[in-house]
């Protein structure tokens, strides 16, 4: 197990370097000159020259990359060109927001997805199964951002029930925090709920066919006990792995959801930074999400190996 983890982490290092080079060169190839925007409406040539010098835009791109990578190794990801805030600080500021959104979305997804999956497997072939399947597919097919717009129109603009934007930290006012976040979390959670439902259903189906469920039933245990205690518990193993892997989907979904609901999180930060050509911010975020993503994958693999000893013999 330890050698497996060690090997995975070692192979992750070139991947991370690749990501950072990839993103760095991509950005510097982007059309549009951030200095022109930064120089202000007047675009004073003297100011432009000073800014180029200051932010090393005159150096060759490989040199710029090495300078950036050197600082990054020492934990300095640079500053935002737009507001001069250190990137690391920005990430620290935005991370809790997106995590709260993702966790709330996940909770909603689990509350909907797992019961629906169990029910649909249990009632396989009936109209309940069919409805659950079609609903799940619909959840997968509806564009997140459109669902968000429609909810804003209905719940905020027409009915005035929930705020259409903003963020209140959980620590400041928990109730208001949840009120503001519930709609975006629902939007983000629907697609995840659908994926979870489908995985739970297929896991439950194979567990329900297994010998120990048959044995449990033969022992005359109550159907509910069989379903929850024996079947679901075993079916949850692969589902937990899937949840780890859904991390990436949550992040990608958060990008648009945060844009629609004006939530000051990671996703909004990265989209705005791409549009503002705020190089250091884009670079820092992609690096962080990349590392997080790879480690989530390693964790998922490790979990899978622990839960499924057969895998490691292959």
């Amino acid at each position: 197990m330890l050698t497996f983890l060690g090997r995975r982490i070692l192979t992750a290092i070139p991947t991370i370097i690749l990501i950072s080079i990839f993103v760095f060169s991509l950005q510097h190839l982007l059309p549009g000159d951030p200095i022109l925007v930064m120089a202000g409406e007047e675009r004073d040539p003297e100011v432009i020259a000073a800014l180029r010098e200051k932010y090393r835009f005159n150096d060759p791109v490989p040199m710029q990359y090495l300078a950036w990578a050197g600082n990054a190794l020492q934990g300095d990801l640079g500053i935002s060109l737009r507001t001069q805030q250190p990137v690391l600080e920005l990430i620290g500021e935005k991370l809790p927001v997106t995590i709260q959104l993702a966790v709330m979305a996940l909770i909603i997804a689990i509350l909907i997805g797992i019961p629906a999956g169990v029910l649909s497997a249990y009632k396989k072939g009936t109209w309940i199964d069919w409805v659950a399947n079609i609903t799940a597919l619909s959840g997968l097919s509806v564009p997140n951002f459109w669902l968000g717009i429609m909810l804003i129109l209905l719940v905020s603009v027409k009915l005035g029930w929930l705020p259409a934007s903003g963020y209140v930290p959980l620590t400041e006012d928990p109730l208001q925090s949840i009120r503001v976040m519930i709609m975006p979390a629902f939007v983000l959670g629907t697609a995840i709920a659908a994926t979870l439902m489908r995985h739970t259903r297929s896991a439950m189906l194979s567990v329900l066919k297994s010998d120990y469920v048959r044995t449990a039933r033969a022992k005359g245990l109550q159907e509910r006990v069989v379903l929850v205690k024996h079947a679901l518990r075993n079916a949850l193993v692969p589902v937990v792995t899937v949840i780890t892997l859904l991390f990436g989907e949550l992040l990608a979904g958060a990008v648009l959801t945060e844009q629609i609901f004006t939530i000051p999180g990671f996703g909004k930060l990265v989209v705005d930074a791409v549009f503002n050509r705020d190089y250091a911010v884009v670079q820092g975020i992609v690096l962080c999400t990349g590392i997080a993503f790879i480690f989530m994958n390693i964790l998922a693999d490790a979990a899978y190996r622990i839960l499924n000893p057969r895998m490691s013999q292959q």
């Binding site: 991947t15 990501i19 564009p143 951002f145 990608a252 992609v286």
Partner: protein
């Protein structure tokens, strides 16, 4: 958002003789048929756009700006007095084209790379795998946004960006399938009698990886249609005055209160097309699944 083929299903190599039974299974699945009908409907609408009796998608009417649906304009008019129905029909072309072309890009780049990695193994595999992981580690949409911004906003560039972002899934799938095929007994014996690379690939590998690739492609088209809409929604896809459903939603967002119909119909259309491809993909997967449930 990214539906991935169940690895166990995809992992089973598929001898060609099962095809006819697959068609039988597909035909008997109501949801797959429904998906097929939905996709076919939008395909026909998109192809018939030039001959359908609707106003041109760029025809403006200053007297009817943001007018609610009427008989003359069944889906209402937009912010500069164009017929929303007509723009929906023409927008279907953009959406379907984006879905299909970007997946073709992903397949035709990803499949050879994956096969190469699985066939050659060694350092070729290591390089391709690291590269794939790097691509996978940046969330799909962020990657597509960055690529689309880099290439400059246009429908073509959005298709390239989505295609490149979707490529890793196909690399992985093709690689995994190739690896499995290569360990089959009949392949080992074929290799022993000295069949060349081309023969190996054409005779054994391709037939085995094409079915799962078709299933994955259908599901990825669904993802790609949403991705195109998302990019256009952010202003990075189809450019005005050409219509696309995502671009229509981008504009509609500013008129939610006064003209909700502008936001309603394009969203429903995206939903239906994506649902159609997802149903179709599911149906294909079940039909091509060698195991009987």
């Amino acid at each position: 958002m990214t539906a991935v083929v169940d690895p166990q299903v995809a992992a089973d190599p598929l001898p060609p003789r099962r095809r006819n039974r697959a068609w039988e299974k597909f035909r008997r699945s109501p949801s797959a048929l429904l998906g097929g009908v939905i996709v076919l409907f939008f395909l026909i609408v998109a192809l018939l756009a030039p001959v359908l009796p609707v106003p041109g998608p760029a025809e403006t009417d200053w007297g009817a700006v943001r007018k609610a649906p009427t008989w003359a304009h069944p889906f209402g008019t937009d912010e500069i007095g164009r017929d929303v129905l007509s723009r929906m029909i023409w927008g279907a072309q953009a959406s379907l084209l984006a879905g299909v072309v970007s997946v073709l890009i992903a397949v035709f780049l990803g499949m050879p790379l994956g096969m190469l990695a699985g066939y050659m193994r060694g350092w070729t595999d290591a390089v391709i795998s690291r590269f794939t992981e790097a691509l996978l580690a940046a969330p799909f949409l962020i990657l597509a946004i960055a690529l689309a911004a880099f290439l400059g906003p246009s429908l073509t560039n959005a298709m390239i960006a989505i295609g490149l972002s979707a490529m890793p899934v196909f690399i992985r799938l093709a690689r995994a399938q190739t690896l499995i095929v290569m360990t089959e007994d009949y392949v080992e014996s074929a290799r022993a009698v000295g069949i060349g690379h081309v023969g190996m690939i054409g005779r054994y590998i391709l037939p085995n990886i094409v079915p799962p690739i078709i299933v994955q492609s259908t599901l990825t088209i669904a993802t790609a249609v949403i991705a195109e809409a998302s990019l256009s929604f952010l202003g990075l896809g189809q450019q005005p005055p050409a219509p696309s459903w995502g671009a229509m939603l981008n504009t509609a967002k500013n008129f939610l209160d006064q003209a909700p119909w502008m936001a309603l119909y394009p969203g429903v259309a995206i939903f239906l097309v994506v649902l159609g491809f997802n149903l179709l993909g599911d149906g294909l997967r079940d039909a091509l699944d060698p195991r009987d449930h």
